[in-house]
């Protein structure tokens, strides 16, 4: 279980998140919607332990997030978190070691992920020569490298061609349906949210404006919450 309990986060004088309560169960996919600046990325980074909440707690498996717990979290952000001068294989090898994977296991895991994400023939290429879409896929491989229990994806479909988006979609579905992972992703694409997520949450001004099952019959209610949430200042 991934939980945000009364989480608030402030940047200087501005509250990016305010008293937010949200929980996601294993095997569940949550889509986070909201306009730019609504706090989606901040919430994902707080879930990942990259940002500490100003107030409140983030819990993973019932425990406050700790350094050890980070071993079970994978985060994909707008920043690829890959070294441009290294090849995809070298990047993944390095991050695998940071996550404590044994040298003997790394190669097999890298090959498997590369095959799943369609980057096998690009593994030996430096990240600097890759297109944005390929970087996104390599970055996703980095996030999934250590087979995390919690997968956090910040706009994972941006920059992907339809084929790559389809692959990613099937990866996310498999993570939830077959491996009972917790998946939280942000998107601006309402249809993608309804299509992929079991539950949808809308953020506005750092607050939770709507939360409910991804049921198409609730689309109007959700859109109304989306518009309402984006009207007020943060």
């Amino acid at each position: 279980m991934l939980e945000a309990l009364g989480v608030s986060r402030r940047y200087g004088w501005r509250w990016a998140l305010k008293d937010l309560n949200l929980s996601v169960s294993p095997g569940e996919t949550l889509a986070l919607l909201g306009k730019n600046g609504s706090g989606k990325t901040t919430l994902l980074k707080t879930f990942a332990g990259l940002l500490m909440p100003t107030e409140g707690t983030v819990r993973v498996g019932g425990e406050p997030i700790s350094r050890e717990a980070k071993g079970g979290i994978g985060l994909l952000t707008h920043e690829p978190m890959l070294y441009a001068g290294l090849t995809i294989r070298e990047n993944l090898g390095y991050f695998a070691k940071l996550f404590g994977m044994e040298s003997g296991d790394i190669s097999g895991r890298v090959e498997l992920l590369a095959e799943t994400l369609g980057i096998t023939d690009r593994l030996a290429e430096p990240v600097r020569v890759l297109s944005q879409g390929l970087r996104q896929r390599a970055s996703l491989a980095r996030a999934l490298l250590h087979d995390p229990e919690v997968v956090l994806l910040d706009e994972p479909f941006s920059g992907l061609d339809p084929e790559a988006a389809g692959r990613l979609e099937s990866v996310v579905r498999a993570l939830c349906e077959h491996h009972a992972r917790i998946v939280v992703f942000t998107t601006h694409d309402l249809s993608k949210a309804f299509d992929m997520a079991g539950r949808i949450a809308v953020l506005g001004g750092g607050r939770l404006a709507y939360e409910g099952n991804a049921d198409n019959s609730k689309e109007e209610e959700l859109l109304a919450a989306f518009d309402e949430a984006s009207e007020g200042p943060a």
Binding site: G49, L51, M52, E79, M81, A84, G85, Y94, F95, L98
Partner: protein
Amino acid sequence: MRRFFYVLFAVVEKDLRLEWRTKESLLVMVVFALLVLTLFSFAFGPGGGSGENARAVQAGILWISFLFACVIGLSRTMSVERESAGFSAMYLSPSDPSALYLGKVVSVAVLMGIMEVVGFAVLAVLYQANVWKSAGALAIVAISATVGIAAAGTLFSAMSARTRTREVLLPVLMFPVLVPVLIAAVKASEAHLGGGGWADSRDWIRLMLVYDVVFLVAASLVFEYILEE
């Protein structure tokens, strides 16, 4: 403990591999140190001046050139981490921040070590300094000072890496803290370049070793907070 060194060597391997590919930091460091040493050799003459102060001048120029070259190298090294969001990626991992920090220190120290070998060779040629006869003793002085400079430099460059004024902030933060190690390095180098024995340099080397230990331990403890966004 095995995992600690596993992570430490992973960081060193990654940094040196990146440097081997790009040669961005090392090349700039070596060229800068060479330029400073060459320019001062014209100013002070072949022996670094004459009389009793010649060795002190040589040692002073040498360590000042190393220090400024190191600042340039550190800025470059940390800009790679900034551009790749490398610190965030490190902080996302369950790795011991001390291992990550010490890995960065070792990488910086290796680059400085290569630059220093070139610097000492240039000092021997341009300043006719007594480098070869005291090579062993000077190596110990250089290692002691390099660890201290790399330890402080890594910490402060990581601190300033995410700020807008990082190029200015790094030397402003780093230089005052490095005063003890710089004075000790100059004095110990001066003693050995002048043909003096261990008696003249022992206390300065001890000072550097104490500085190294204190800084490495303290910085290892606070590095986690620097990685946080």
